[in-house]
Symmetry: C2
Subunit: 352 residues, 2 copies
């Protein structure tokens, strides 16, 4: 079998291109993966030492860069030669099998759907966040902002989260939970109440409703929700951690004893933050597109980049997309037929 | 003017009736408020010392107690003589002007709506969470699980949050934000996009969309959202804080130095948690019911009870409900008329 080839968006992320390239070099030194660094040649090449010229690392020129705050619609329209777009096209053409980017996640998401299209049986691809807990990672899907979902979208998210947890996280029978405001099946809004009735009948290991606090207690391995709720919740969770750190930093300045104390608990805090560290996994998979796309955190440094690229390669190796299509097919009979779904979409337009 | 009378649910909460009574006694010793302790006489009376018989504290018997996990629908049906129900009826009858309860919040909410009814101009009452930040409290509305909201519900939440922030938190011109997954007006689901267009035209100090992380950065004084999103977010936020504490406790056991360090940073942590402490405010107001109802945290101890009761009294004193009705009336012209709203509700039933 030939080597797995991953296209890396060398220009995406707060520390691009330096940390992206550093992470990429580490990958090819550690694993049997071939990489294509996509971006502005004149900025990438000087960062690759000459002695590294024998590594399986190519550079592929792309003249434009999508900025972090740039609206996805504008990026799609005006940046046809952006590094992320070119990287996705390499997958489309079959030159690479997967993409890793730590750049503008909204633009990556939109461009990936646009360039690669969807897998069979997928109405909307979804971004799965990996939430660190004491008992390993929880797959939280969707966090990518797939808003105004219908129950069959959530069922598809559940299937995709299940397949990812099984083949990439290595859980033989992942527990799937539905994010809700209470545990009883009668709780919640219309969306989750209807989704519950579908998931109940599915072959998945569905454990019922889980609440916000249950995510971190790892009650379920996969937590399913509408992209609006997921995105708000993810950002709030990050905000809480950031605020606590700010608070501690502010308070510690007031006392010498506290400063000394903090030095003593430094290792403890290091361990705590290692558990919370997203760079251990490196990225969030975009599930349901016809290709492999891993989206790294904007703040990704070399380690996160390395692990994100490895996840992309593993995704290809495990043939996750074939399993996704198979899983979705098994669920086709459970959820309303295409005609009904189309009608529901239409009605939603009429009655927003 | 006669004294403000607050009915206190003496049986509601994890530490009831002991801590509830302790808090109530502190209130009448500190402030010019009259209290009615509602609950099982035989359990309350032994906890009131004889020398306190001259305090403005009455006991009003109610034979039943709503348990913490009890489904609200069952409580309404089978517990007609529950302490919280009887307390609400005292308000209905005009014997008391407000209620404080740290009991089952779902049941309190449902019973309050059922017993007291709604203020004029309110389609759905909402529970406002008070989120502690470095710059004071943020009014986060709705956290009470008012799901499947329409834009006019969210507009009403915004008005109610604004009035509460103005008259109870004392902010002359509170900044109102809409919880969303991005800052641009085009972001989000249909609900928030439509709500945005209404709020833009309102006389409120509307600052636009805010994201999950912005809540804690106190970008807005009032953050408006659907009750599903708000309830999930609130519980997730609590979960993150709890998980961090668990992690630290687990790690500290591994090292003597860390233990020593933690002793030194104890005051620091105390200050941090004081900022995060809900007991400073004591409760979440239920806004839009025809009466004053403050819902305390289930874990409320004397201090939180005391502050919650004081908030109820202040709510009555500031005549918040009159201001609410006035504010809602000012917004009537902005949002679709009653007939359209009724049609929208009907359509939602047909097309869930």
């Amino acid at each position: 079998m030939s080597k797995i080839v991953i296209a890396v968006d060398a220009m995406g992320g707060d520390y691009a291109p330096q940390e992206i390239i550093k992470g990429a070099v580490e990958v090819v030194q550690e694993a049997d993966i071939e990489l294509i660094l996509v971006g502005q040649e004149e900025r990438i090449k000087p960062l690759l030492n000459k002695e590294k010229s024998n590594l399986p690392l190519q550079v592929y020129n792309a003249s434009q860069v999508v900025e972090m705050g740039e609206p996805p619609a504008e990026a799609i329209r005006f940046k046809k030669d952006a590094s992320i777009k070119v990287a996705l096209e390499l997958v489309k053409k079959g030159v690479a099998q997967g993409v890793f980017s730590a750049g503008n996640s909204g633009a990556t998401l939109a461009m990936a759907m646009f360039t690669l299209g969807r897998l069979k049986g997928v109405n909307r691809p979804a971004l799965a966040g990996l939430i660190p807990t004491l008992k390993g990672y929880v797959v939280f899907i969707d966090v990518g902002g797939m808003v105004d979902c219908r129950p069959y979208h959530l069922v598809q998210f559940a299937v995709m989260g299940h397949v990812f947890a099984k083949y990439i996280l290595g859980l033989p029978e992942p527990k799937v939970g539905l994010l809700n405001i209470g545990e009883e099946p009668t709780k919640g809004n219309e969306l989750v109440k209807q989704t519950y009735t579908f998931l109940e009948k599915s072959p998945l290991n569905f454990i019922g409703n889980v609440e916000g606090k249950d995510i971190l207690h790892h009650k379920a391995d996969v937590v399913v929700c509408d992209g609006f709720v997921g995105n708000v919740a993810l950002k709030l969770g990050e905000g809480v951690v950031e605020s606590l750190i700010t608070l501690v930093k502010k308070e510690v300045k007031k006392s010498l004893w506290a400063k000394l104390g903090l030095i003593l608990v430094k290792n403890l805090l290091k361990n705590v933050f290692q558990i919370l560290d997203y760079s251990e996994y490196g990225g969030a998979p975009l599930l349901g597109v016809n290709g492999t796309v891993i989206i790294g955190h904007g703040r990704s440094q070399a380690k996160a980049v390395k692990n994100g690229i490895k996840m992309a390669a593993n995704f290809v190796k495990q043939d996750v997309n074939t399993h996704l299509e198979k899983g979705l097919q098994e669920h086709e009979a459970l959820i309303p037929g295409k005609r009904w779904r189309k009608l529901a979409e239409k009605l939603k337009e009429v009655v927003p």
